[in-house]
């Protein structure tokens, strides 16, 4: 095994030639590489662990984890895995190089504009949900581990601390200290829980807090007792640092930073959904605070935290499955009372089975392809508002019967020329798990116009239930 410090540009490792050293980190070195044969379809990098003096369990185990986990992951939110080298000769991982810088330099520019914070948050939450769906909790979400493709998708890198629900956890028994990066570690991570995807949403909350205010919510503790403080003390509300922080943004950040994972967003998709529709975020007391809770409350919570054992959590796989986003497409005009009733009953059944589910009620406002659209009725009332009123009216019985709180329900009127296309696009953008919609009867209209539901069924990436009378 060549010590990574001795490697030089031009050296050959297995089937790859080293070109330039891109990065020298504490745990690993990154090299720009080219294969000896053939042209790769994407630029490649080689990650070589820095193993100090042969005995370095942290680096070795972290790299073992990464070698085990990376080949299992796919999609635009991770660097594509190419190959790996074993520890007997030279340990390395060759993967796709993500162009550009990590999010780390943006941290130095904080506070950032609120729109940028929301945009970063939404893209990272979307990416985290995709990882969680692949049974992975990252457990080291921080700006230096986040990159962006030129096409805009957030990419998570460095899986050395991650936990895959369907693979052995090599780190579980390895260390006696909590694992993670001090400022970002969730309370349950401090308590050695390694399988809760909501830990990543806490870390994202820390990041959004920092980007919004320029301050870390829990400082940068280096001791276990310092880390444990977050079990019983709240961060200062962002508005204490930056008074003009919009209440919705403070609501989102403080919800991510809840000590109890059950009080946070339950999935990255649910968080991304809120950040894409700030006007739909119901505001609670979290949004109001200008100063942290008093010391009496902290003392109470300190006692509670002292004896508290974290509850055994469902793993990433189960958790994500039980917190789906359901989307119901409501046709305010083309429907009939019978179809409305049946659609409502179908949605009710689905929402009853999964108490963690969120419901997005969507309606399309049809626009003309050419020419001016009428946005007001004869009396000058907004058609958009009228349609919103109509879908809220549709959902009212559901809201009452299931006692859905505001967090579980959102309303969206989309202006579009192609109804089916707009529905599918909304579902993809918001990581919807299941679309429920009615089918028009066997009318002359359907024969003439084609079926919207058939088009949605054909084009959607998620499950679709078509309700018929």
């Amino acid at each position: 095994m060549t010590p990574p410090g001795k490697l030089q540009a031009g050296d050959v490792i297995d089937q790859f030639r080293l070109k330039n050293k891109l990065h020298q980190g504490g745990m690993a070195t990154l090299w720009d590489v080219e294969p000896l044969q053939g042209e790769p379809d994407v630029p490649l990098i080689m990650k070589i662990p820095r193993i100090k003096g042969g005995e370095d369990p942290a680096t070795i185990v972290g790299f073992e984890v990464e070698q085990m986990v990376m080949p299992m992951l796919s999609g635009p939110h991770v660097p594509r895995f190419v190959t790996k080298g074993d520890f007997i000769q030279q340990p390395y991982i060759v993967m796709e190089q993500i162009q550009g810088e990590s999010l780390r330099p943006r941290l130095d520019k904080a506070p950032l504009p609120f729109e940028e914070v929301a945009d970063i948050g939404q893209r990272v939450a979307f990416a985290l949900h995709e990882l969680h769906k692949q049974h992975l909790v990252h457990l080291d979400v921080k700006p230096s581990n986040i990159m962006f493709r030129t096409s805009g998708e957030a990419v998570l890198v460095d899986f050395g601390l991650s936990r895959h629900a369907q693979l052995p956890d090599l780190l579980e028994e390895e260390f006696s200290l909590p694992m993670g990066t001090g400022p970002y570690m969730s309370p349950e991570q401090v308590q050695f829980i390694r399988n809760d995807p909501r830990s990543d949403l806490f870390a994202l909350g820390v990041m959004l807090y920092h980007l919004t205010t320029g301050e870390r919510p829990f400082g940068n503790p280096t001791s276990v007792s310092g880390l444990r403080k977050r079990l019983y003390t709240d961060a200062m509300p962002p508005r204490a640092h930056r008074p003009n922080t919009p209440p919705w943004l403070q609501e989102v950040i403080m919800r991510c930073l809840e000590v109890d994972p059950a009080k946070r967003y339950q999935t990255g998709a649910q968080l991304a959904l809120d950040l894409q529709h700030p006007d739909q975020i119901p505001l609670t007391k979290r949004a109001e605070h200008m100063a942290p809770r008093g010391s009496l409350s902290n003392i109470k919570r300190w006692f509670k935290a002292m004896g508290a054992e974290p509850e055994a959590q469902a793993n990433a796989t189960q958790h994500v499955e039980h917190s789906p986003i359901i989307m119901v497409a409501i046709a305010t005009k083309a429907s009939t009372p019978e179809l409305d009733k049946k659609l409502l009953a179908t949605v009710r059944r689905i929402m009853q089975i999964e108490p963690g589910a969120r419901l997005a009620c969507v309606s399309i406002m049809k626009m003309n392809r050419v020419g001016m659209d009428k946005l007001m009725d004869e009396e000058g009332n907004s058609l958009h508002v009228q349609q919103l009123v109509a879908i809220k009216h549709w959902a009212r019985p559901l809201q009452q019967q299931l006692q859905l709180d505001e967090h579980r329900l959102t309303f969206h009127v989309l202006e579009a020329t192609d109804t089916a296309h707009a529905l599918v696009e909304f579902a993809n953008k918001n990581q919807v798990d299941h679309i429920v919609m009615g089918a028009r009867g066997n009318s002359a209209l359907r024969r003439y116009l084609g079926s919207v539901s058939a088009q949605v069924v054909a084009e959607a990436e998620c499950s679709v239930t078509v309700v018929r009378v």
Partner: protein
Amino acid sequence: MKLAILSDLHANRQATEAVWEHATQQGCDKTALLGDYVDYGADPVWVLDFVQQRMQEGAIALKGNHDDAIRHGSSHNMGEHVQESLNWTRQQLSAAHVAFIESLPLVAELDDCHFAHANLHAPSQWAYLDGRMEAVRSMQVTTHPFVFCGHMHQPCLYHLSAAGKSGEFSPVDGTPIILSPMRRWLAIPGSVGQPRDGNPAACYAVFDTGSKQLTFHRVPYDHERAAQRIIEAGLPLFLAQRLRDGR
């Protein structure tokens, strides 16, 4: 090399056939049979013929405690109920079958893999690997990084780091696991012929010795037919019931 690892077949023809078909579809080109071919089930002769056929094709086959008991009587840690099915099994087997069983070894090696029926640290004593402590003992007596044992009827994967930290994992059906050569691994594929984790589907595992990729599989089979065969043979009824329950 793609290795199919089958253990604890227990005279269950239907389960063995289903697993073999599955392993063939997976492209396995080598077989390791970890013992306990007979007892409990109604088709000991068919299963022993299957084992001999695989051996002719180059398979590794070990002796299990139930195979050993055919000649030497039941060992102390086998339940009393075993006696009845053991007696029945003896009546089915020819002298040639018994001689074949007697010829089987307790352990075997292949590349960087080491195999035993019950455990590797004392293979002739048939003690169960029922926890990390025991698994670590077996991982420490060999220089090979990969150990495979049967005897326990529930699938399980143990690992041991260079720093001496061990872990235990319940495998997920069909999910490949890349085994790091930096640590020791001990895999228990589970039982082909008598699964006991509440799932009646047969267990086995596939290990790709090149990519070090291990996959545990569950294969559903006609367990009603296997249970019916047990009843028809006049074997204890609960042996039929436990195939239906997977317990």
